[in-house]
């Protein structure tokens, strides 16, 4: 249903709110950076991957920054999307009111951990990692769910919850607000590190950059240019902290802390395919619906 597109050289990018993604796109948004072969770039933001799919299917969106599970899910549902890269970053954090010990899982034995949604990727991964860490979910460690992320953050910040596994920047926000409220907490668990240890893969690739398949096939030079831009921009993400904080209306200290911590980077779809497959295979075994019940086929990463 894509039809004739009026502006063949306009690239339309939609991104879910994410600190690193925003940092990578800032140059394009402000017009300071340009992509060779592309006339203009239009960037907008979506609140959920759900909002993106009509655009991807209908051809109103060319490139989407979204959770890598959503990319696989779209592919599994027959939407022609490819992953042109993943944004590496510490996207998940376990925060708590204990000091960061050497045995994070032991600290959680008998405790209750707040997670935002039952059954979403954070929940599934936390359960997987807990099992890998020697805890039986729902027996040795309990989980408590909320319908919305902000509630989980608020509960931690005001001391209603002692442990939480949250995506960034919510985890950072929770720590900031908790400190303001006089109940400081720390990051005591790094799910990405736990993931690497448990699976042997090089990263936990949770955030992907997807592109419509026909665009990837017809204009590889645009894909290359975009990949180059993203690589350069993520390598230097900390520089755009201020702009990102303004754009996402986040406290500046949270953004500069997140971007300044390092570990951010960009790999192409081809480079990250192995890591993606490890993630997808685990999810397929434990929560197939998160990736649409099927592994993406060959050529998914470009």
């Amino acid at each position: 249903a894509s039809g004739a597109r009026p502006q063949a050289d306009a690239l339309r990018i939609v991104s879910v709110a994410n600190v690193v993604a925003e940092a990578a796109l800032t140059g394009l948004r402000t017009g300071r950076a340009a992509l060779p072969g592309v006339g203009s770039v239009r960037i907008s933001r979506a609140r959920t991957p759900d909002e993106l799919r009509a655009g991807l299917v209908g051809g109103q969106v060319d490139v989407a920054v979204l959770p890598s599970t959503a990319a696989a899910n779209l592919a599994a549902k027959g939407v022609d999307v490819r992953v042109l890269g993943v944004l590496d970053q510490a996207l998940l954090a376990g925060i708590g009111r204990t000091g960061a010990g050497t045995a994070p899982w032991e600290a959680l034995r008998g405790a209750t951990v707040d997670v935002a949604f039952r059954g979403d990727v954070t929940d599934v991964l936390t359960r997987l990692l807990a099992r890998a860490g020697g805890l039986r979910p729902d027996v040795d460690v309990r989980f408590r769910y909320h319908a919305q992320l902000p509630e989980a953050v608020a509960e931690f910040a005001v001391g209603e919850a002692d442990f939480a596994v949250l995506p960034e920047p919510s985890a950072s926000l929770a720590l900031l607000r908790a400190a303001e409220a006089g109940r400081p907490g720390t990051r005591f668990l790094d799910p990405a590190a736990e993931w690497r240890a448990a699976t042997g893969s090089t990263s936990l690739p949770l955030m992907a950059v997807a592109v419509r398949g026909d665009l990837a096939a017809r204009r590889p030079e645009v894909i290359r240019a975009l990949q180059d831009h993203l690589r350069a921009a993520t390598a230097n993400a900390a520089a755009s902290a201020e702009a990102v904080a303004a754009e996402l209306q986040l406290p500046p200290q949270v953004v500069s802390e997140l971007l300044g911590r390092g570990g951010t980077g960009f790999r192409t779809g081809v480079q990250a395919r192995a890591d993606l497959d490890v993630l997808y295979q685990r999810l397929l075994a434990h929560a197939p619906e998160t990736i649409g019940g099927r592994l993406p086929g060959d050529g998914f990463g470009v």
């Binding site: 759900d50 009509a54 959503a70 039952r118 979403d120 319908a147 649409g292």
Partner: protein, 260 residues
């Protein structure tokens, strides 16, 4: 007798035609769209079957229905009483105006946030949100209708000094039947929708939470299946509310009116 039956059959026929037209639109749209946007009836049916078989449907629906029922019952009772009081005393009406504006204007996020603080339990918060949405509907509908009650009959009740209970039973309630029916119809069927929305916002379980999860997983067919369930529940509620109403209407129109 048999003529009346024929009429009834023809009327249910109209309902079936209406349903068929709606149902026909769906595949027509689904035809041109990929499943991920608009799943076909078959795909939706498959998703529905899965929900039924896993027991998910019954469990979540029960949770949501009971929340909706409790919320709607409280909301209609409170709203109807408030509406009656408002119609009978201007100062009550005026004093209640800010509260009514609050209830009508408040984005449900706020009672959700406050409810979490006060009630703790997410289920109770969902009920609270349903109450908050139901009360003004019931109040406004009943108050406007109560204001329209035949002034002559009210005067008669005053002259004969009917005690408030008798006035309520013999005059106000019968006169308010249409308003109460529309309040019940709106709140009954709508209550479920509001409960789902409230769960979507605040609760970790119930149909709303299931919809949120299916949405997050881009499982459009499952979202549609839940929507079908919600619509079916609304139709059943509507039917239950409308049944006694129709009986009343039938007895009123007992006398045949011929063409000239």
């Amino acid at each position: 007798m048999s003529e009346r039956r024929g009429r009834r059959l023809r009327l249910s026929g109209a309902a079936v035609v209406g349903a068929a037209v709606l149902a026909g639109c769906w595949p027509a749209v689904a035809w041109q769209q990929p499943e991920i946007l608009v799943p076909s009836p078959a795909e939706t049916a498959a998703a529905l079957l899965l929900l039924v078989e896993s027991g998910e449907l019954a469990a979540q629906l029960w949770t949501t229905l009971s929340r909706a029922a409790v919320g709607v019952a409280i909301g209609i009772a409170a709203g109807a009483l408030w509406g009656l009081a408002s119609a009978s005393r201007r100062w009550i009406d005026e004093a209640g105006r800010p509260l009514r504006g609050l209830l009508l204007g408040l984005p449900p996020v706020i009672p959700a946030v406050l409810g979490t603080v006060w009630l703790g339990d997410a289920g109770a918060v969902a009920v609270l949100v349903v109450v908050v949405v139901t009360v003004p509907t019931a109040k406004v509908t009943v108050a406007e209708a109560a204001r329209a009650i035949d002034a002559d009959l009210l005067e008669m009740a005053r002259v004969y000094r009917l005690p408030p209970a008798a006035r309520l039973r013999h005059l106000q309630l019968p006169a308010l039947v249409p308003a109460l029916r529309s309040a019940a119809s709106l709140c009954g069927a709508g209550g479920l929708r509001v409960a789902i929305m409230a769960e979507l916002l605040v609760a970790p379980d119930g149909v709303g939470a299931a919809v949120a999860q299916a949405r997050g997983n881009l499982a459009t067919a499952e979202v549609f299946a839940w929507a079908l369930v919600a619509v079916a529940a609304a139709l059943v509620t509507d039917w239950l509310v409308a049944r006694p109403a129709r009986r009343g209407a039938a007895s009123r129109a007992a006398e045949p009116v011929g063409a000239r």
